[in-house]
């Protein structure tokens, strides 16, 4: 096994990982920072984000507004101390990105332009056309070249964390090109591995969004929080799940059912006029819009496509000029992947899994339960999203908390005690053996079979609307799939060099564990809140469930679910209303 020594290892080269590595390098240019990513950093999923990133800049906006929109959007399951920290640091990070060259869209006078996103009182979303994530990621990646302290290990697949006495000691990875096992000795590690949307079939996520960071952390003894909260994005192409950004609706697109009727007015998001209006109709939050779709579908008001039912996302009234200028990527994607020209026809869309609100539990300083281990970005649950993430908060999250994680890790290195590398190496060998064993199976099932069965179980039992019976069935299926996985997968590919089948098999192990945590947490939460909707418990139950769920690994068995308190500072739980009712509620 090859051995590399570093002070800080950052796992993940997406927005959060890059921001963490840069922050660590700026905090202490003398550190050896290893940035590990299973794909080239610019291939990370952050690249696909379209709409934009939140940061208060307008005179008519305020930090309190951002705070309220976030906490209300998350149905009071947010940790308010963390939200407070978050909203106070977003704008600064947006300016930082601007300094580093991010081509934010501008007003004619050269100042920053902001747009509306669902669930916002005032426009606050910084955007770079509809390629915001792309520009943020490339800006961060390219800027990272300025820091000699950062050594990149591109296309290294992290397979395990080595933890001794509750402290992180090393990271076991596979150099993909050669298949060689590598041990990174480290004093601190930052997990920035992104979400887990790929455990569902219809999703907007890139192929790499398989939740390994969560799996690694869970196995190493950290805990996952709020895993039952999975965000469905209401406007995705049927089949591929390719996202038609919320920016469409921010720019004025409307949603109609098969009769051309703007059905959202029937689901507490109306009235129709005046339009456009913040937090009403199409500018309502994602969970409500996705849920409205589900009901329209049940009423038979949707259009049928070969990949399931859909409704119409109509941009035509915006006019060709505005569509092409503000939504070039959407236009291109709709034309290519749906064969629809948004200038002339409405785009068929349906909800698909988009974002993992839950993740590795951390405090506001991004510390996990393991000392020296930090987590940031979509893989983490730092506490700002609660039961439903506000659009454009997660791009802000990856930079705000990516930075915190990098700085904290750099600081931790200074206090870390020396350790015996032999013991770490022994543990690493054991972990490598486990990983290599997957290559040798002579008998077993095809990888795709187990993966497909997992996705079906999740769509079926852990979907937009959940029931006790459905969730129990999903839990059983997942337990069974994990047992089948342990019994063995037979790979066609037994080579070491660039064996992507092998990597997919390792990923599948994590995906099953993460899926199981989602299903069990959802089963535990007998209420409906935000993105978690139970048909057998349709009301929110603050008395019993104004708490986080915590999932701890149960080894080969089911994860254990417990609760943990939510930090509430200034915003008392109230009712979460949008549309006309929302405006009234705000006045009182």
């Amino acid at each position: 096994m090859r051995i590399i020594s570093a002070d800080v290892v950052v796992i993940g080269g997406g927005g959060a990982g890059l921001r963490a590595a840069i922050a660590a390098a700026e905090a202490d240019p003398g550190l050896a920072i290893a940035l590990i990513s299973k794909v080239l950093p610019m291939r990370s999923h952050t690249v696909a984000a379209e709409g934009g990133s939140a940061g208060v800049v307008r005179d008519d906006d305020s930090l309190d507004n951002h705070f309220d929109d976030t906490v209300t959007g998350g149905e009071w399951l947010c940790d308010q101390d963390v939200v407070d920290y978050f909203v106070r640091h977003c704008t600064e990070e947006m300016v930082q990105l601007e300094r580093w060259g991010c081509p934010w869209s501008r007003k004619p006078d050269g100042s920053i332009n902001v747009r509306f996103f669902g669930g916002m009182k005032v426009q606050r979303t910084w955007f770079a056309a509809d390629k915001s994530g792309f520009h943020i990621l490339h800006t961060l990646f390219q800027t990272s070249h300025k820091y000699p302290a950062i050594t990149r290990y591109d296309e290294y697949f992290c397979a395990d964390l080595i933890v001794e006495d509750g402290r992180v000691r090393g990271v076991v990875a596979i150099e993909i090109a050669t298949g060689e096992m590598v041990l990174f000795h480290c004093k601190a590690a930052v997990l920035a591995t992104g979400g887990a949307g790929r455990v569902f079939r219809q999703n907007t996520n890139a192929g790499i969004v398989t939740g390994e960071g969560m799996g690694l952390a869970l196995r190493a003894g950290a805990v996952l929080r709020d895993m039952e909260f999975v965000q469905w994005h209401p406007t995705c192409l049927p089949g591929t799940g390719i996202l038609m950004s919320e920016a469409c609706r921010g720019e004025g697109a409307i949603l109609t059912n098969k009769d051309g009727y703007r059905y959202l007015q029937d689901y507490g998001l109306g009235p129709l006029d005046p339009w456009p209006r913040a937090k009403a109709m199409e500018l309502g939050p994602r969970d409500r819009l996705s849920q409205a779709f589900w009901h329209e579908d049940k009423k038979g008001n949707t259009i049928q496509t070969p990949h399931g039912s859909a409704v119409n996302l109509d941009l035509r009234h915006l006019g060709e000029k505005k569509i092409l200028e503000r939504l070039p990527l959407i236009t291109e994607a709709a034309r290519t992947f749906a064969g629809v020209d948004p200038v002339r026809e409405p785009i068929p869309v349906r909800p698909a899994v988009h974002y993992t609100m839950g993740g590795i539990a951390t405090n506001v300083m991004t510390e996990t339960a393991i000392s020296g281990l930090y987590a940031a970005g979509e893989c983490a649950s730092v506490g700002i999203h609660g039961a439903n993430r506000l659009g454009s908060n997660s791009l802000a999250e990856i930079v705000v908390f990516g930075k915190v994680a990098g700085e904290r890790a750099a600081q931790y290195v200074r206090s870390a005690r020396p350790v015996s590398p032999e013991r770490t190496a022994r543990l690493a060998e054991a972990s490598a053996t486990r990983v290599l064993r997957l290559l040798g199976n002579e008998r077993g099932e095809r990888l795709a079979e187990i993966r497909d069965a997992m996705m079906d179980a999740m769509e079926e039992g852990v979907g937009l609307y959940r029931t006790e019976a459905g969730l129990k069935a999903a839990c059983r299926t997942l337990a069974d799939l994990r047992a089948r996985y342990r019994r063995g997968i037979r790979l066609d590919d037994r080579n070491r060099a660039f064996n992507t089948e092998w990597l997919a098999a390792i990923e599948l192990g994590s995906m099953l564990e993460v899926a199981e945590a989602m299903a069990h947490a959802a089963l535990w939460r007998r209420e409906s809140r935000g993105a978690h909707q139970r048909l057998d418990a349709t009301a929110r139950d603050d008395r019993r469930f104004l708490v986080h769920s915590i999932a701890r690994s149960g080894g080969d068995g089911a994860p254990q679910i417990k609760s943990a308190p939510v930090t509430i500072t200034k915003s008392r739980p109230g009712s979460r209303v949008y549309g006309g009712a929302g405006a009234k509620a705000e006045l009182t």
Partner: protein
Amino acid sequence: MTEVRTYRRPMPADWWTRNPSYVVYMLREASAVFFFVYALVLLWGLYTLTQSEAAYDGWRALLATPAMIAFHAVAAAFALLHTVTWFMVLPKTAPTLRLGGRIVPVAAVVVVGVGASAAISLFVYAWVAGLLPPGLAEAVRNLVPPGGAS
């Protein structure tokens, strides 16, 4: 460290036949050969001009052979290809041209460039053939004193 073994595919000498875009490129580049030979033909003419009238007439007789006329016909065709492609590439060497906020399309540049070339050609032809309008002819005579090109 395990070495990353890769395979480097050879680049065969006929790579440019595998793709129409490359063939067009090679044709464009081939125009250079014709300009090169043409310049040498002229240089040879200049040399004979410094020698004697007989030598020079010998050169002119050579030009009148079918082979040489055929060569020039082909060369003219390539020169035309050069003119068009030259104006296609020219805007790429300058900052993006914008008129009233809109990017000027390459086709427009080509039309203007080829138009300019046609105008100059017409002028040269008229001059050589003695077809210039009197005023213009006078101006040219002042610029290029008697003997001129015709």
